[in-house]
């Protein structure tokens, strides 16, 4: 008798269907070409591309990277070749590699988001979803991040959803106490899911020169150091049950992924770990399958939201 369980890994977030809950985070995987050397990226639930702007962007002055305790600070400044480069150069490669694609985009104004949406109208059938990176500066609000002001999140989502009939994911920063409100307004505007967390703002200083260790003074912290912050944010948002959540922040192994699923995330992104263990996506996928088999769980969805909170009286 064959009693080996072949667990189902399929997950669904609104209209978005993933073959498994393991995806990559924007900006940590480029388009998968580099990692394809180490494993078949077509196995992943999805590959989120680096964030694209309307026109090419040079990025921030170096140094752009500073390692901290179990974490990395970065101030890359969203360097990219512009959306046309994705459409004509990288998209054909990704399709050829069999990747399920989440296209990450950002603009400096709502108008720019609209212009990018217009550019991707023709390729909408080739991508799974669009992720709006709303942690970038909004020039119409004095450079304050879009997601710092939930009404600005709504404006962007409204305009993109009205132009594109593909699922829209909204990626938010943990640096503002606006996640719930932004998620609610995003839902009203037709967004399909929320991605949290983007990096946490951080800083490091060289005590000998008294200079910041990043060219841009402050940067975004990622890696295992931020995982507890991410987990709490994901837990809090999942409790609200506003939209399905894609969780990310410091995932370095399948146990981290399981924690996010247990608090209610339906898919989990691998970010900084892609810099260190180049085959981490495949490893986590294999380890997750092995775990489900060992525990005799036939469907990964049975893990999602299983958190048991026992409120004890003081």
């Amino acid at each position: 008798m064959n009693d080996i369980i072949r667990p189902s890994l399929k997950v669904q977030l609104g209209k978005i269907k993933f073959k498994n809950p393991v995806i990559t985070c924007s900006g940590t995987f480029s388009h998968g070409e580099e990692h394809m050397v180490f494993y078949d990226i077509g196995k992943l639930g999805a590959v989120t591309t680096k964030s694209y702007s309307l026109l090419p962007m040079k990025g921030n002055p170096p140094p752009r990277i500073c390692e901290t305790a179990s974490g990395v600070l970065n101030s890359i400044g969203l360097q990219n070749d512009g959306i046309d480069s994705f459409i004509y150069r990288h998209l054909p490669w990704m399709k050829g590699a069999g990747a399920s694609i989440i296209l990450s985009i950002f603009g400096r104004t709502t108008e720019e988001f609209k212009k990018i949406a217009l550019r991707i109208l023709d390729i909408k059938s080739e991508i799974l979803a669009v992720e709006l990176n709303l942690s970038c500066p909004n020039l119409e609000q004095g450079g304050k991040a879009f997601c710092a002001v939930p009404e600005e999140v709504k404006r962007v989502v409204d305009s993109v959803v009205s132009m594109l009939d593909i699922p829209v994911i909204v990626k938010l920063s943990p640096d503002f106490e606006t996640i719930d409100r932004s998620a609610e307004l995003a839902r009203q505007s037709g967004a399909e899911a929320i991605s949290i967390i983007n990096t946490v703002v951080g800083m490091a200083v060289d005590i000998d020169t008294a200079k910041p260790l990043l060219g841009n003074v402050t940067g975004g912290l990622s890696g295992p150091a931020v995982k507890p912050i991410a987990l709490a944010r994901v837990y809090q948002l999942c409790q609200q049950d506003i939209l399905p959540v894609i969780a990310m922040g410091g995932v370095f192994g399948y146990r981290d992924l399981l924690e996010f699923l247990i608090v209610g995330a339906r898919a989990v992104g691998i970010g900084t770990a892609n810099f260190v263990q180049y085959d981490i996506g495949e490893r986590i996928l294999n380890d997750l399958t092995a775990y489900l088999r060992e525990k005799k769980i036939d469907d990964v969805n049975k893990i999602i939201g299983r958190l048991k909170v026992e409120k004890k009286q003081a």
């Binding site: 940590t28 040079k58 990277i65 295992p224 180049y278």
Partner: protein, 264 residues
């Protein structure tokens, strides 16, 4: 480029605070090109501090024994951990990485100018160039005699060299950059590779620039991934008409035309 576990054949002190680690890896030895590096995980097992891999130039290869080596200075947690490893231990590494330098073409005369630990990639260039029948001349400057042992390697390679040290206790007294340009004809004849501290690179860039002599600089920058995805290790490269772009040391580099590098 591959993820590999390599066995340490030796990990010995090379100078004060400086170690040479010899690793067994037929794959690296077969595939490495001059100028390339390996990215080493510097935490035990799945430890997360230090988190990132550390890039090290391949210093030397021994093809007969399938052994390559890296030279490293103990600076922080990562290199501290490396120095604690012993013969027989295993290292998690990836490589070879970066764009390699093709020594099969180009000038028959190679000039290598190094400063401090910058000699590490130049050592492999020297070895590979000599193996291709090229003439190699090395000029290297040091703060003190910490890397004294390297001279034995140079003698073994049968390469021509001049050593400078700031305290004058090893080779000639002074800075290698001060000795450059006793005649531009000499420099024009050579294919030049430079690696060392930014201050040294700036002076050499300025001096060679006066005579429009090109040189290849091997650059170092903090890296997160080493494979080209994070865009963290960029350097500013001059383009046409006053423009510039940021290029990745790990991918387009580590070798760049010295005159095009913008040092800030």
């Amino acid at each position: 480029m591959k993820l590999l576990n390599s066995e340490i054949l030796s990990n010995q002190q090379y100078g004060p605070g400086i170690f040479k680690m010899e690793l067994f890896s037929p794959y690296i030895v077969r595939n490495v090109m001059a100028g390339q590096f390996v990215n080493i995980r510097c935490a035990p097992n799945d430890g997360t501090d230090p988190l990132l891999r550390r890039p090290f130039s391949v210093f030397d290869i021994e093809e007969r024994f399938n052994v390559f080596s890296v030279l490293y200075m103990v600076k922080g947690k990562g290199t501290g951990y490396m120095s604690s490893l012993r013969k027989g231990d295993t290292v998690d590494l990836a490589g070879p990485m970066g764009s390699g330098i093709d020594l099969n073409t180009g000038s028959k005369d190679i000039l290598l100018i190094g400063g401090g630990m910058g000699i590490a990639p130049l050592n492999l260039i020297a070895k590979m160039a000599l193996a291709r029948g090229k003439n190699v001349f090395i000029m290297a400057g040091f703060r003190d005699s910490s890397l004294l042992r390297w001279e034995r390697d140079l003698v073994r390679m049968e390469v021509k060299y001049r050593i400078f040290s700031e305290d004058g206790k090893w080779g000639e007294k002074g800075l290698v950059s001060e000795y450059i340009f006793e005649g531009d004809r000499f420099y024009k004849k050579h294919e030049i590779y430079v690696c060392g501290p930014v201050e040294m690179l700036k002076i050499i860039q300025e001096k060679l620039g006066r005579y429009q002599i090109s040189a290849t600089a091997l650059l170092e920058e903090k890296m997160a991934c080493g494979i080209g995805v994070c865009m963290g290790c960029v350097v500013k490269i001059r383009g046409k008409n006053g423009s510039f772009s940021y290029k990745r040391v790990c991918r387009e580099g580590p070798a760049f035309e010295l005159s095009e590098v913008v040092f800030e």
